[in-house]
Point group: C2
Chain length 122, copies 2
């Protein structure tokens, strides 16, 4: 069983956190062939935090977990904070493969998304 854990920063604005949870729900429906389990987690300021998000995936039966940073830039959170938390959490689950995906800004599709967003301006 493969799991995807969408990790956002977390905001004091609950609506912003809810958007991430809704996005994870949408993701779950769109990638069932590749990922049987999809959850959302947050670096800070909101529940579920990353270690609990990883635990949720494993409790659901995940043998592999991909942590997908919902971040645009390779700032400190992407380069240091998320890897540190994931590496610490990994120690508790030696039999589970836990990897971190590239941040979204690194994707070739970003260009297309930017132009589409610009063109959709009303």
């Amino acid at each position: 069983m493969n799991a995807l854990l969408l990790v956002a920063h977390g905001s004091r604005r609950q609506q912003s956190n809810d958007e991430v949870v809704v996005l994870a729900d949408k993701l779950r429906k769109n990638c069932t062939e590749q990922y049987n389990i999809v959850h959302a987690a947050f670096l800070e300021l909101a529940e579920t935090l990353i270690p609990d998000g990883i635990k949720k995936c494993i409790d659901d039966g995940a043998e592999s977990v991909i942590v997908l940073p919902y971040f645009l830039n390779s700032g400190r959170h992407v380069v240091e904070d998320i890897p540190n938390i994931v590496n610490d959490t990994k120690k508790n689950y030696p039999d589970v493969e836990i990897k971190i995906a590239p941040h979204l800004g690194a994707s070739d599709l970003m260009m297309e998304l930017l132009i589409t967003s610009a063109n959709s301006t009303k």
Copy 2:
């Protein structure tokens, strides 16, 4: 002449700001048919700030400027801060059409980008 102003948050980490400028350069090469002018600007912590970014576009001859928020969630920055700054700046340029594009998380392409990023994990 149409301009696109890519607006990111701005980081204390210079490399993160440089990534945004590189992305704007890449964007410029990819959308020359629709947008003759492309610049990057930041909400805070980095140069160029939004009002100066808009000025740069207009100095380059823009008759319309689309401000494209390089943000994933509809947090306070997207909902309040960027619109407030853009609306204040607009007053200086009554003859230029200045609009704000939706934030990136609102795009239908985001789902595809997330799954592609997850699948590219090494």
